[in-house]
């Protein structure tokens, strides 16, 4: 008996197929994979301790022994770049996760419940957005003191307004659609209507937004740490390694101390943005319709 196999493509599979056609995004994803592996498995790619001082070998230019040289305390720069990447990537992911969660919750409250809740949330986003992102973070960071957890909370706690606006817009569009009205007529609770019926529709536009949030968070951490208000030494991050360049002598004479983290940051952010761009195209519903 011949059986016809019927396959129905899930939206995620369609998106993945479309993403694969985006050549630059695929290359970016591969490069990103390499960077993540290098950082995550740093001990396999370096024999040095990122915090290990070696006063006998300070400020050494790149050599066979120290691929990217050593810093002012004799620590291996290649090793610190990899371990620093761990911290920077974790902060980027954690802060983006936090800001996305806050953004979704406030966006849903604002869009779904409307009225005064909408008014309050929207004015709050106006107020937070009146302060250029890093500006207000500098003040907060100076007062809360430097620290990894503080940086995550500062970035996550102040980067949510764009996400909240995006989610609110989506929810507003969905709120009056028939399937939502039907769900309500059936007597489903708000919690179920929101989580089961509405939020799945928000995922697609949110995916690209989340990727960009990660790259923004990585840059913000780097910026804060570069100014000495992010993650304090000796813990390496790409940002606080680049802080070395604020010393004109190091910038001029010992560029190997700050160029590697700068390049890693740039490549990582560029790749994340390319992947985000690919995801945005892949999830674009208008193009999905066009394909069928």
């Amino acid at each position: 008996m011949a059986m016809t196999e019927v396959t129905i493509d899930s939206p995620a599979r369609v998106a993945w197929r479309r993403f694969r056609q985006h050549r630059i995004a695929m290359v970016a994803l591969a490069v990103l994979g390499v960077i993540v592996i290098l950082c995550a498995f740093a001990p396999f790619f370096s024999g040095y301790d990122p915090l290990g001082l070696n006063m006998a070998a300070i400020r050494q230019p790149p050599s066979a022994e120290h691929w990217l040289g050593t810093d002012t305390l004799g620590r291996d720069v290649w090793t610190r770049t990899l371990y620093g990447g761990r911290v920077s990537l974790v902060i980027g992911l954690a802060a983006a996760f936090l800001s996305t969660i806050i953004g979704i919750v406030l966006g849903v409250i604002s869009g779904y419940f409307g009225k005064w809740a909408d008014m309050v949330v929207m004015r709050a986003t106006d107020v937070v957005m009146a302060f250029p992102p890093i500006i207000i973070m500098l003040t907060v960071a100076a007062f809360t003191g430097p620290g990894l957890v503080n940086v995550i909370f500062i970035i996550g706690g102040l980067r949510w307004p764009p996400t909240a606006r995006l989610v609110r817009g989506q929810i507003l569009q969905l709120r009056d659609q028939d399937f939502v009205t039907a769900a309500r007529t059936l007597g489903l609770t708000n919690a179920i209507i929101i989580t089961r019926h509405m939020l799945p529709h928000v995922v697609a536009p949110l995916v690209a937004n989340i990727t960009f949030a990660v790259s923004l968070a990585i840059l913000t951490e780097a910026g804060l740490s570069f100014l000495g208000l992010g993650v304090p030494l000796p813990t390496p991050t790409w940002g606080n390694m680049m802080e070395a360049a604020r010393d004109l002598r190091i910038m001029r004479e010992e560029p190997w101390m700050w160029i590697p983290p700068a390049i890693f940051t740039l490549i990582t952010v560029l790749c994340i943005n390319f992947v985000g761009d690919g995801l945005r195209d892949a999830f674009d519903p208008q193009q999905l319709i066009g394909e069928k």
């Binding site: 302060f131 890093i134 500098l138 003040t139 840059l219 780097a222 100014l227 604020r246 001029r252 943005n273």
Partner: protein, 319 residues
């Protein structure tokens, strides 16, 4: 139109009010107060705890927070931002001078970004999928992924330290007061500041122009036998520019952020460097005033943008 502007202004009032509350509350979170700040052995040797307490009372630091907030707000409304704790100068004057310096960098940066961004956007839109289009579009992606501070240290290293084309920082050479010298100091940080915005404007212009060029009235104009140049510049460009105008207004916050980093890297005496120095030294009155001025600057830019957008695009309904 007038009603729309009035409505927008009224909406801005509660936001502005909350901004002042937030600016004040942030400083409240900080440990210590002005007296603690000065009460270090060098500045106030020989002051007893009772003296300090008397000083607090006299300065009104023992009042409850809302009272102090209203006191501060009252001063701000009269243009009195207090005195800098470190620079012994009225904050208002200090800010005004530094803001002027920053405007030079931001002004040049924005001008360069707008001119080149829009030109490149049109250029690539007219040559979609050509090698030039791919190259410039790729570079623009690098540009928008390039934060001001990394671009800043790389530019400083390459153009000032290695090539020696530009001074390594400051605003004027000591004792020199010529426009040429000032521009020589301004040009590198301003160009670096323009990168990310140039890339943004280029992408928006390209996108918008591609959209407009497909419109039927553009086809009609071409069909009537108009020269390509007229079709592009008179018919397509004007409408294509509309979304770009909003991007210029909304790029102000990023411009301020860039200024903070670049002024710090190039030791340029602008508001950004003042802000950073004040944060590091906890110069509360300056931090509060700078936060407030920047927020008002951003709100004003947003307001002007929205009004301009409505003014140039008659399709927008001003319910």
């Amino acid at each position: 139109m007038t009603r729309y502007i009035i409505r927008r202004l009224l909406l801005a009032i509660p936001v502005l009010f909350m901004v002042t509350v937030l600016v004040f509350a942030l400083i409240e979170l900080a440990p210590g107060d002005v007296v603690d700040f000065f009460a270090n052995p060098e500045v106030m040797a020989g002051m007893s705890e009772a003296d300090l307490e008397a000083l607090r009372e006299r300065l009104g630091l023992n009042d409850p927070a809302p009272v102090r907030y209203l006191h501060w707000l009252g001063g701000v409304l009269q243009g009195d931002f207090g005195y800098s704790l470190i620079r012994s100068e009225p904050v208002g004057e200090l800010l005004l001078r530094r803001f002027g310096n920053s405007m030079m960098i931001m002004g040049i940066g924005l001008f360069v970004a707008v001119t080149f961004g829009i030109s490149l956007g049109i250029y690539t839109a007219l040559r979609q999928y050509s090698v030039a289009d791919f190259t410039i579009s790729f570079l623009s992606f690098v540009g928008i992924s390039m934060p001001a501070f990394i671009a800043g240290i790389i530019a400083l290293y390459v153009f000032s330290v290695q090539l020696g084309w530009f001074p390594a920082g400051g605003m004027r050479s000591p004792g020199v007061h010529t426009l040429g010298d000032l521009l020589h100091h301004l040009i590198l940080p301003a160009l670096v500041l323009s990168i990310i915005h140039m890339a943004t404007f280029m992408r928006y212009t390209r996108f918008s122009m591609l959209d407009v060029l497909k419109q039927e009235y553009v086809v009609t104009a071409t069909a009537k036998g108009m020269p390509r140049r007229i079709v592009v510049m008179r018919h397509a460009f004007r409408n294509g520019l509309i979304p770009v105008v909003t991007m210029i207004g909304y790029s102000i916050p990023e411009l301020v952020v860039g200024a903070v980093f670049l002024e710090t890297i190039f030791s340029f005496p602008g508001m950004g460097k003042l802000y950073f120095d004040s944060v590091i030294s906890r110069d509360f009155p300056v931090i509060m005033a700078a936060n407030l001025v920047i927020a008002v600057f951003v709100l004003a830019a947003n307001l002007i943008t929205d009004v301009a957008y409505a003014a140039i695009d008659p399709r927008i309904r001003l319910e």
